[in-house]
Structures are given as structure tokens and as C-alpha cells.
Amino acid sequence: MSVPAPTATAAPVQKTGPRRRLPRYWLPLGLLGVLAALSLLEIVTGANDLTSSGTLMATLVATVPIMLAALGGLWSERAGVVNIGLEGMMILGTYGAGYFGYHYGAWAGVAGAIAMGVLGGLIHAIATVSFGVDHIISGVAINIIALGAVQYLATLTFAGLPGGGQTQSPKIPDVPSLTVGPLSDALFDLERKDIFVLSELAALARALVTNLSVLVVIALLLLLLTYFLLWRTSFGLRLRSVGESPAAAESLGVKVMRYKFVAVLVSGGLAGLAGGFLAMVASSNYRDGQTGGRGYIGLAAMIFGNWRPGGLLMGSGLFGYTETLGLRQGGTSVHALLLTLAVLALAAGVWQLRRGQQVAAAVTVTLGVLIGVVYFLIDEVPGDFTRMTPYVITLLVLAFASQRLRMPAADGQTYRKGSAG
């Protein structure tokens, strides 16, 4: 009779005194540091695709759907509802974009993707909030239902249309994209001069002014909006209080159920938009299996980012970047990354040793040495392995970072109205 309680949990959090907050300028400074490191890496290893504007443009397109899914996860988990159904809601979104985009134009496609995602969110909200179903069970069910529904609907609505079929929709019209022509060309010149750091900055700037889809801009604005709403308004404070301690929130007059409901619906909408992005920007039609598990990866990016908007952006960026590297000149690029990994592992090992964690340090240093040996033994990483890069990196990063993570206190717990007593 035991229903599995959700376990999207990190281990018990260690108490480490008051947490130091990073200064406000850490993001640009960190980005500059990363670019410099990559630039150095290009010089050392001779891999030259690590920071090209092409890579960065592709990274942006690969990052946004994961980031949107993660953002969806953030909304619902901040309100205390674990959303493993993100994948299913994304799948619904890809179909929504395909159907409404083909019949009524690009923006209708975007709206359709969001609406389909909200529909998935509605099921999740009714099941978990109204009926108190375990969040994981509901999420798994939604993933199954969404996949089946979309395949069924695609056969019903796309078969027989020009360019459509059981597994794909006809071509969807494009969402407009922005290009600042002259600036883009000038930046490209600068990029090709290969000046340390400067060229990398130029490549980054070029990626932002060349063929930039409006949806990318919207997605980034949604991230900012989420931060503002959840951390700078009383609405957000209440929503987060529902995720931390629903009983306390209710005793202060917060309508707990309503907040949870809204959060899960928004979560579904964002996941739907993520699916729509995949269909409309990353590709140009709905295809069966288009999401490829990105909903789960979004969830991972959110946990990786410690249930914070800035963190999840970093998580999805890391994921999008390594995925892109694997798909482009994967052999040499990923090979170069191995050197970074080896150096990082050795550094981490030394750090752990200084903190007196001998066993952990030994493991880390061994890992670092092993990766280093592999780096010097082979010249190129085989294709099957380059495609694994984002997943391996995520695992490694989590293994080193996850003890500092803290999820909302009441995340995944079922709450019934009036439990405050």
C-alpha cells in the first residue's frame, strides 16, 4: 500500500553557516572568464570550433528549449509540485506548434504550443493538487498520455497533408528572426583575426545579432520576468512560501491550492513553449520523438541550478554548449574538453585535499589523471562518445556540486486544504 513518495531530492543538506551570496557582477565576469579559458584552450589544443560564432549560435538554439523546460520546472517546484511531466508537456507543445502553426501561421503556432502545454499542466494540476495524486505518478502518466495522444493526433491530422505524415507535420512558417547585417559582418572580421578573448567576444556578439529568432529573445525575457515575478513581488513570495511551508502559508491567508494550480499551469505553458521552440526554431516542423528527453534534461538543469533562474540558465547553457560541440566538429572539440576536465579534476582534488577529504581527493585525482591519459592517448573522440558529452558533464558537475543544492522544503509533498489545522 506504499505509494512511492517523490524523490527528486538531493541528500540531506549540510549546514554550512550563513551562505555567501555571489556579487551582482558575477555573471558577466564569469562569462568573460569562461571565454578566456576557452580561448586559451583553443590555443593550447588547436581545436578551433570551441568559440566560433557558428558554435555559439547553435548553442543558443540548443540551450533555449532546455532553459524553457527548466523554467517550467522552476515554477511548479517553487510551488511545491514536482513536475516530471515536463517531457510530456513539451511533446504536446511540439504538436501544438505543428498543428496551429501550419493552419493559422507562425504566431498561432507559438500560442498553440503554449496552450497544449497548459493543457498538460492542467491534467497535472488536477491530479496532484485537487486529487492529491503522488507527483511522480502523475508526471509519468502525463508523459505516457502525451506521447500516445500526439502520435494518435498526428496520424489523424497530418497524414495526407502535403509534406505531412504519421510522424511529421507539414512545414510550419518561420517566426521572424533578427539580423543586423553590417554589424554582423564587422564582428565576423574581428572574429577571424583570432585575437585572444577579443575574438571570442566578437563571436558572442555576432551570435546575438545574426539570424536571432524572436523566440530566443522572448525566452530570455521570460527568464527575467520569472526572476522578477518570483523574487521581487508579493505574488512570488507567496508562491514560494507555498513550496516551502504550505501550512504556514495557509495560516497567513495564502490560497495554497490556487497558487499551486497557477504555478503548474504556468509550468505547463513554459514547457509547451519549449516544445514549440523545438518544432519552429530548432527545426521547421513537428516530428515524432522531437523532444528526445529534453524535458528530463530541463529538470536536471533546474536541479543543477539549485532551483534558481540564474543557475538554471547556467545549467542549460552548459548542456546546450556541450551538445552543440558534440554535434559539430565533435571529435576535436570534445577531445579538447577532455584536457579542461583533467585540469579541473586535478584542481578539485588539490582543493579537497586541503579541506582534509583524503578519500574524495584520491578519487578525484585518479579520475583527473585517467582523463588526462585518455587525452594524450587518442587524437579524436569517436562519434558515439561525443554525443554523450552533455550527459557525462552533467553527471560529473552534479557529483561535485550537488551537496550545496537545496530544494524547496515542501517540494513533492501532497497538501490538503485545511491541513494547517
Partner: protein, 378 residues
């Protein structure tokens, strides 16, 4: 007498309610899409022929093992999404080992099964270790390991594969005749045979029940799953339990692909059935982690899958419609159990109130506030 009857009715009522609700919702979808509802159900609910029956039982045995593997994790409060990756890595290993035929006959089979279980356990063990030592959520790590296993299997397959004649699909060496597990017939036509591995699946189910309910280890595992603090207080090492539970879950997951491998495919190729791990999650949830419940869930899923196959040809409806039914069942089962449980609690309270009525002028009204906190947690 009357009470046992009520309890029986309630016990049957919950799953029945769930099935009816799932069928109703699926019908609603069909009606909205203006597909022939009646024809769809008469096709799906028709009595299966012997050949189909064999398919249903065979597929159910595979799904059963997958459900068991997930359920072991669930009992310990671990969510092993990684059964999918674990069984693929393990089935590949078994195929490669059995194909090499280092040992004669069934010794070879035993070796391959052992190898599969070990590899499955090791693959799941990575997630267990990361959870126990580094606090990495097993949900995330097993998802990542699923993707990684895809890459590794693809790479290794290319290394050891032999090309089959007349096709361009890659596969491991075929398992020699003497090491295959014979099927037993239930009819006398072709395809009317059950996997011999079915026996092992049943044994796994009995083993699952025995270990969890009749051993100290099983008690520790369930205790840890229900309350970590209570487990720690009674001297259980939670970290050790996490790793052990993942290892066992992975070892069972290692068996998932083997009925197909030893009874039907005889080789692991790029077309080997995938996605069995995710079905296992739904089935474990459906069966409420009970060995018999999981078996019923597996049979139901296999039944729906098999019976929906001819839908496209017979009535022109995509067989994917049953995926909606399957997903909805997972939800409605939980909801209807909850509804029935609340109803049963109310019945009991009324009974108690009636029994106490003569001595008390007024029975406490329904007793709902005091019953509430307990209800929430159950």
C-alpha cells in the same frame, strides 16, 4: 461476514472504477476525433486468438521484470528511471557473452544471465553510489546514464558486431542453439509458444515477495523507504541500503531484455526493443509495487498493446490510442484507490458511531478532523 463482503467489494471496486474511467476518457477522445468508438473497443476487447495470447503473455513477462526492477527502487523511496539504460547495457552484454559461447550449452546461458545481472547492477550502482556519497538525485543520474548507455552500446556494438546476411542491421553473434532457452507450446501452430524465461520471471516475482516480506533485509529496506529517521534510529545504514537497493534493482533490470534475447531474437542488434524501462515505471505504479499487482498490470499493458495492433488495418484508427488508455489508467488507479479508501474510512466511522450510539447521546460528528492527519500521509 457482511464486513468481509464489503471489503471485497471495495477491493474490486477500485481497479474496476479505474478501468471504466480510463475507457470512458479514451472513448471521449475517440468521439471528439470522430473515430468509430464501438469498432475500436470491439477490436480491442475481442477474445485473443492463441497466437495473440502467446504474444500477450510473452510481452507481459518482459514488462513484469521491468516493473519489478522499478518497484524495488520504489519500496526504498528510490526512483530508478534508469531501468531503460540498465536493461539495454545488460542485454547487450548477455548477447555478446552468449554469442562467444565460451562454455557449452546451458552453462553458457547461465554465464550470460549472470553477466547481464552484474552489468545491470553495476550500471545502476553508479547512480546508487553517486546518491549515497555525493548526494546526486538518482532521478537525474539515471536519466543521464540512460543517454550514456545508448552511446556506449552503439559504440561497442560497432566493435563486436557481425553483419547479418542480406540486411544492413548490426548485431552481435547469434547465440548457439544449445544455449537458447526452449519455449513451451500452448497451441500447435507457429508462434503459439511461451518464452521459457517466463519461469525465471515468475521466480523473480516470488523472490521479490519473499525478500521484501520475509527477511530482515526486506524489512530494513521498507523501513528506510517509509521513514529514514526511524531507520537510522534502529541502526540501519541508509547509505548502504541505497546502494544495495540500486544494485538489486539494476540486477533485476538486467533480466528485462533476456526473455526476448534467449527466446526469440538470439542476437542484440540496433533494432532491439527499446523503451521497456519506461513502461516498467507505469506498471510498477499500476501494480502498487505488489508482485501480483505488477503481474496484472503487465498483463493489462501487454493485452492493450497486442489487441490494438490491427486497429489501423481493421478500423483505420492509430493504435497509439491505447497509449492514452494506459497513461490514464495509471492516473485513475491512484485516484480511485484514494476515493475508495476515503469512502471506506467513512463507512467504518459510521459503523463505529452506530455501535457507540446507545451509550453516548450524540456520537462525535463523523470524526473527520481527527482522522484527517493520518489520512493525508497514507
Amino acid at each position: 461476514m457482511n464486513r468481509t463482503l464489503t471489503r471485497l467489494a471495495l477491493g474490486i471496486g477500485a481497479p474496476l472504477l479505474a478501468l471504466v474511467a480510463a475507457f470512458a476518457i479514451t472513448s471521449l477522445v475517440l468521439i471528439i476525433a470522430s473515430d468509430p468508438v464501438g469498432d475500436v473497443w470491439s477490436t480491442i476487447l475481442s477474445v485473443p486468438e492463441t497466437r495473440n495470447l502467446a504474444n500477450i503473455i510473452n510481452n507481459a513477462s518482459v514488462l513484469y521484470l521491468s516493473g519489478l526492477a522499478v518497484a524495488i527502487g520504489f519500496r526504498m523511496n528510490l526512483f530508478n528511471i534508469g531501468v531503460d539504460g540498465q536493461y539495454r547495457v545488460a542485454a547487450f552484454t548477455a548477447a555478446a557473452v552468449a554469442g562467444e559461447a565460451w562454455l557449452p550449452g546451458y552453462l553458457n546461458t547461465a554465464l550470460a544471465i549472470l553477466a547481464a545481472m552484474l552489468v545491470g547492477a553495476a550500471w545502476a550502482g553508479i547512480a546508487g553510489l553517486l546518491r549515497a556519497t555525493r548526494g546526486v538525485s538518482e532521478v537525474i543520474s539515471t536519466i543521464m546514464l540512460n543517454f550514456i548507455s545508448t552511446g556506449i552500446v552503439a559504440y561497442l556494438l560497432r566493435r563486436v558486431a557481425v553483419r547479418e546476411q542480406g540486411s544492413n542491421s548490426l548485431g552481435t553473434k547469434e547465440i548457439p542453439e544449445g544455449s537458447r532457452i526452449p519455449s513451451f507450446p500452448i497451441g500447435d501452430g507457429p508462434g503459439q509458444e511461451l518464452y521459457g524465461f517466463l519461469v525465471i520471471a515468475v521466480l523473480a516475482g516470488i523472490g521479490y515477495w519473499f525478500v521484501l516480506n520475509r527477511t530482515r533485509f526486506g524489512f530494513d529496506l521498507r523501513a528506510t523507504g517509509q521513514s529514514t529517521t526511524a531507520a537510522v534510529a534502529s541502526g540501519i545504514s541508509v547509505k548502504k541500503m541505497i546502494v544495495t537497493a540500486m544494485l538489486i534493482s539494476g540486477a533485476v533490470a538486467g533480466l528485462v531484455g533476456l526473455p526476448i534475447l534467449f527466446g526469440d531474437a538470439y542476437t542484440y542488434g540496433s533494432t532491439f526493443q527499446s523503451g521497456l524501462g519506461f513502461a516498467g515505471i507505469a506498471i510498477a505504479l499500476l501494480g502498487r509495487n505488489h508482485p501480483v499487482g505488477i503481474a496484472l498490470g503487465a498483463l493489462l499493458f501487454a493485452f492493450l498493446d497486442e489487441q490494438s495492433n490491427p486497429l489501423q488495418i481493421l478500423v483505420g484508427v492509430s493504435p497509439d490510442i491505447v497509449a492514452i488508455t494506459q497513461g490514464v489508467i495509471v492516473l485513475t488507479v491512484v485516484i480511485s484507490y484514494e476515493l475508495v479508501r476515503r469512502y471506506a474510512v467513512r463507512l467504518e466511522q459510521q459503523q463505529v458511531a452506530r455501535a457507540l450510539a446507545p451509550s453516548e447521546p450524540r456520537p462525535p460528528a463523523g470524526g473527520s478532523p481527527s482522522g484527517e492527519p493520518e489520512e493525508v500521509k497514507a
